[in-house]
C-alpha cells in the first residue's frame, strides 16, 4: 500500500495530494470503471454460466474443467504459440538486419525508410484483404514470384499445413515500425565505441557482436515483450481472412475466445479463457524479464 515513512502528513502534503488526485481523476475514474471492476467481474463470470441476457448462474470450476477437456482449447493454444514462437523472433531478426542496412551511409535514406514503413499505416482490414488476394494459390502474386524460381507455391490460406505460415509471412510486411525503433537505437550508439574498436584493430563482425548488438538489446527486449503480448492476442487478421479455418488451423486463442463470447454467448466460458490467457501472459513476461538480465545490456558499463 502507500508507504507512510515516519512523519505525519502536513497540511501542505494533503493539499498536494488533493491537487494530484484532481488532475489524475480522469484516469483514476476510468481505471476503476473500465479496469478494476471488469477485472474482478470477469473472474466472477469465469465461475458462472452467463449469456448476457438471463441471470448468471454460479457453477464453480465447471468452465475451467470444460476448457481443459475441450480439444479446440488446445488447438487454439497450439496455433497461437506456433505463430508467436515463429513470427516474433523472425520479425526481430529481420527488423534488426534491415535497420543495420538503413544505418549505413547511404543516399536516399528517406525513400527506403518510407518504403519500409508505409505498410504499417495501411489499415489492418485492408492489409488482410490485400494479402488474401496476394496469397491466392492460382493467380496470387506470391505464388507467381515463387514460380519464377521454379517453385510451386503451396495453397497458403487454403492449406491447413501452410495457413499459419501465410499469416507469419504477411506479418513480416509490417516490421517497418520496429525497424525505425532499432534504427534510432543504432544511431544512438556512441561513435567513440566504434572508434576505439577500430584503433584496437577490430573487424566488422567483432564490432557488431561486441558493440552494436549489446547496445540495442534493450530495444530487442522491448520488441520481444510487446511482440509476444501482441501475438497472443492475434485476432483481426484471423477473423477477416480465414475465420479459424481451414480445419481450425488458424483458430487462434483470441478468435476462439471471441467466438465463445459474442457468437455462442457463453460469457462465462470466454471469461475463463480470458483469465487463463492473462496468467499465461503474466508468466511469459515474468520469465522474459527475469532471463533478460543475462543478455540485455544497459548503458553505463
Amino acid at each position: 500500500m502507500i508507504s507512510m515513512k515516519s512523519k505525519k502528513l502536513t497540511k501542505y502534503d494533503i493539499k498536494n495530494i488533493k491537487r494530484g488526485l484532481f488532475f489524475i481523476s480522469p484516469w483514476l475514474i476510468g481505471f476503476m470503471v473500465f479496469t478494476i471492476y471488469p477485472f474482478i467481474a470477469s473472474l466472477i463470470y469465469s465461475f458462472s454460466v452467463y449469456n448476457g441476457v438471463t441471470a448468471s448462474k454460479f457453477v464453480g470450476l465447471k468452465n475451467y474443467i470444460q476448457l481443459f477437456q475441450d480439444p479446440k482449447f488446445y488447438t487454439a493454444l497450439y496455433n497461437t504459440f506456433y505463430y508467436a514462437i515463429i513470427a516474433v523472433p523472425l520479425g526481430i531478426v529481420l527488423g534488426v538486419l534491415v535497420a543495420l542496412l538503413l544505418n549505413q551511409p547511404i543516399k536516399f535514406l528517406s525513400f527506403f525508410r518510407t518504403a519500409i514503413y508505409i505498410p504499417v499505416i495501411v489499415p489492418t482490414v485492408a492489409v488482410s484483404i490485400l494479402w488474401i488476394w496476394l496469397l491466392n494459390p492460382e493467380v496470387g502474386l506470391i505464388n507467381w514470384l515463387l514460380s519464377l524460381f521454379g517453385i510451386k507455391g503451396p495453397g497458403w490460406l487454403a492449406d491447413p499445413k501452410w495457413s499459419k505460415m501465410a499469416l507469419i509471412l504477411m506479418a513480416q510486411w509490417g516490421i517497418g515500425q520496429s525497424v525505425l525503433i532499432y534504427l534510432s537505437g543504432l544511431k544512438n550508439v556512441p561513435k567513440e565505441l566504434y572508434e576505439s574498436a577500430d584503433i584496437d584493430g577490430a573487424n566488422g563482425f567483432t564490432k557488431f557482436f561486441h558493440i552494436t548488438l549489446p547496445m540495442i538489446t534493450p530495444l530487442i527486449l522491448y520488441n520481444l515483450i510487446m511482440g509476444v503480448i501482441g501475438s497472443l492476442q492475434y485476432f483481426t487478421q484471423a477473423y477477416v481472412m480465414t475465420n479459424g479455418g481451414p480445419m481450425n488451423s488458424t483458430l487462434f486463442y483470441a478468435l476462439y475466445l471471441f467466438q465463445n463470447a459474442f457468437q455462442f454467448l457463453s460469457f462465462g466460458y470466454a471469461s475463463a479463457m480470458a483469465w487463463i490467457l492473462f496468467i499465461i501472459i503474466a508468466i511469459i513476461v515474468y520469465i522474459l524479464l527475469k532471463t533478460s538480465a543475462r543478455w540485455v545490456f544497459y548503458g553505463g558499463q
Partner: protein, 295 residues
C-alpha cells in the same frame, strides 16, 4: 606505445586503398539489398492499385501484369456505390476525431498530475498505471460490454468514444515522460507569481508540449481508423459501421469482385497515406519516443 601508434598509422595508410575498394563493394551490396527489400515492401501496394483498376476479365490472367489493358476508373465508382461508403467514412471520422480529442486532452491533464505535482502516492499509482498496460483487453472486454449493454449504448459509437475521455495509459506515459524533460523552473516561477495548477497546465505546459500532443493525435487517429474488434463488437446496424468493419462486410458479400474490393481498400488507405505525408516528422519522432529511446 609510440611504436604501436606509428605502426598502426603506417598500416592504415597502406590499407587505405584496400579499405575504399572493400567499402565500395560493401555499399553496392547494401544498395542492392535495400532495393530488393523496398520492392518487397512496395510491390503489394502497387499490386493493390493495379488490381483496383482492372476489369474482371483481367483479374485471373495466367501471367500477372501490372498495368491493366483497360484502366477501369469505374471500379472506384462501383465500390463507392455498392456499399454505403460515405456513411462508413462519416462514422469513422466521428470516431477518430472525437476519440482523439478526448484521449489527447485527458491524457495531457493526467500526465501533468503524474509529473509536475509532487504528492505522496504519485509513484505508486503511476506504477499501477504501467501495470495496466500489460493487461490483455480480453480480460476486461466482456464485463465492459455488459456495462454498455445495460446503459443501452450497444450499437452506437459511444462505447468506442467515451472511454477515451478517461485517458490512455500509453499516452499518459508518453506525455509524462515528455513533461519530465521540461525544467521545473517554469512551473515554480508561475506558482510564485500566484498562478494555480490549472492555469499553469494550460498557459505554460500546453504550448511547450506541442510535439508530444501532435504525436498522440497522429497515433490515435491511425489507431481508431484501424480499429476492427471494437466496431465488430459494438456496431450492429450497417448505418453505424466504420470503414474497417464495412470493408470486411463488403468482402463477405462480394468475395470474388477483387477489383472492387481493392478499390475499396485503396480508398480506406488513402487518408492514412495523406496523414502520413503531412505528419512524417511527428510520426517518426513518436516512434522513437514510444520505443523508449532518449532523444
Amino acid at each position: 606505445m609510440n611504436s604501436q601508434i606509428f605502426g598502426n598509422k603506417k598500416s592504415i595508410i597502406e590499407t587505405k586503398s584496400h579499405i575504399s575498394y572493400g567499402r565500395t563493394v560493401k555499399m553496392i551490396f547494401v544498395y542492392l539489398l535495400l532495393i530488393i527489400i523496398s520492392i518487397f515492401f512496395l510491390m503489394p501496394l502497387v499490386w493493390m492499385i493495379s488490381t483496383s483498376l482492372k476489369p474482371l476479365n483481367e483479374l485471373y490472367s495466367v501471367t500477372p501484369h501490372f498495368i491493366p489493358k483497360n484502366i477501369m476508373w469505374s471500379n472506384y465508382k462501383d465500390a463507392v456505390n455498392s456499399i454505403p461508403f460515405f456513411v462508413y467514412l462519416r462514422n469513422t471520422l466521428i470516431y477518430a476525431v472525437v476519440a482523439t480529442f478526448g484521449v489527447t486532452v485527458s491524457s495531457f491533464i493526467v500526465a501533468y498530475g503524474f509529473s509536475k505535482i509532487d504528492w505522496k502516492g504519485r509513484e505508486f499509482l503511476f506504477f499501477v498505471l504501467l501495470m495496466t498496460m500489460m493487461l490483455p483487453p480480453q480480460v476486461t472486454m466482456i464485463p465492459v460490454y455488459i456495462i454498455f449493454k445495460h446503459l443501452g449504448w450497444v450499437n452506437s459509437l459511444r462505447p468506442l468514444i467515451i472511454p477515451s475521455f478517461f485517458g490512455s495509459p500509453f499516452y499518459i506515459f508518453l506525455t509524462r515522460q515528455f513533461m519530465l524533460t521540461i525544467p521545473n523552473e517554469f512551473c515554480d516561477s508561475a506558482r510564485i507569481d500566484g498562478a494555480n495548477e490549472w492555469q499553469i497546465l494550460w498557459k505554460i505546459m500546453a504550448p511547450m508540449c506541442r510535439p508530444i500532443v501532435w504525436t498522440i493525435i497522429v497515433f490515435n487517429i491511425v489507431g481508431t481508423w484501424n480499429d476492427f474488434m471494437g466496431p465488430l463488437i459494438y456496431l450492429n446496424d450497417e448505418s453505424k459501421y466504420t470503414l474497417s468493419l464495412g470493408l470486411q462486410q463488403f468482402m463477405g458479400a462480394h468475395s470474388t469482385l477483387w477489383n472492387e474490393l481493392m478499390a475499396a481498400s485503396v480508398l480506406t488507405t488513402i487518408p492514412m497515406i495523406i496523414l502520413f505525408f503531412f505528419s512524417q516528422k511527428t510520426m517518426l519522432e513518436g516512434i522513437t519516443l514510444s520505443g523508449g529511446i532518449k532523444q
